[in-house]
Symmetry: C2
């Protein structure tokens, strides 16, 4: 849908980083006036809700510099250019948790912050996990701790704001709906 389309007059490239790219677009508004839009370009991300055989959810705790604290999240990582999300999902699951799977179920996808970023998050679930014989290597700037929690424990973490991000809050609500069915 192109309703209320804002046409680009010109684009100013501000920053080209490892994770994000920032540009500022000057646009024509539907009323003919102009405005500026600050836009973060991101290659997209994939998360997995990993459920063990004894019905626990596998989370990772990691320090998030923008928040200046560590939070507990479902495993996730960035899409590589041209990569299909299922491949990212399995790679991040293997690297971050030591489990692998050959069964992924698509749960949802959403733009994380459409007002200023094009980042899309794809979420999958797997309840067919297999422990890997040899754990895959993390990126060299990643430090994480693995936690296996029941859904009740995860909800408690959410109340305490130790679980506190869009994909993980969504995952917990999603598992609640499965439990209610």
């Amino acid at each position: 849908m192109k309703k209320f389309e804002e046409k680009t007059i010109q684009t100013e490239q501000i920053y080209n980083g490892k994770v994000i790219h920032l540009q500022v677009d000057e646009v024509t508004l539907p009323n003919g006036k102009t405005s500026k839009r600050e836009i973060i370009k991101h290659q997209g991300a994939v998360a997995v809700i990993p459920i063990t055989q004894d019905n626990k959810i596998v989370f990772v705790e990691q320090y998030r510099k923008p928040l200046e604290k560590s939070i507990v999240e479902i495993p996730a990582g960035k899409l590589e250019p041209g990569e299909i999300p299922e491949v990212t999902a399995i790679r991040e699951l293997e690297e971050e948790t030591g489990y692998t799977t050959n069964e992924l179920k698509f749960v949802t996808s959403f733009y994380t912050s459409p007002g200023f970023a094009d980042e899309i998050m794809h979420i999958y679930m797997s309840d067919k996990l297999k422990p890997m014989e040899k754990k895959a290597a993390l990126d060299d700037d990643e430090f994480i701790e693995i936690l296996e929690l029941t859904l009740d424990e995860a909800e408690k973490y959410m109340k305490e704001n130790r679980i506190h991000d869009a994909k993980t809050n969504y995952a917990i609500l999603y598992l609640k709906t499965l439990e209610m069915m």
Copy 2:
């Protein structure tokens, strides 16, 4: 929690915009090595799930320049500095939908993209809406259309990716759980 803390060595200010601020922090990792973190600072946002007396959900459709398309979302807006989220919630509800309320229920809050941004999203619900006598004014660069949908219709929009962002997907899943209770 400060587990795996990354201490700042120095901060480079890159861009200071109307909506976002970009800085790059050089940090010390837990293993003593250094790395860079690209960080978006954002003042935070608030969304409302507005439910009418005849049990419809009030959405707004607007063009999202980062996506180069218009999507359908629950009403939302940025926190002003020092503002409590309930005030933002009512202002955005009034400006965007023409309804007001004096009953808000807190639903959840989450960081939208904790890997690179500190933006937090607070979500409220109100099923005690009153039409305003005189509709509040939108910001002068905002163009929106109001839609009142049943939950079934909203789910159909989600399948078609016309509803496709974190807060709105969460809201629909949340309303599903209320329906299941």
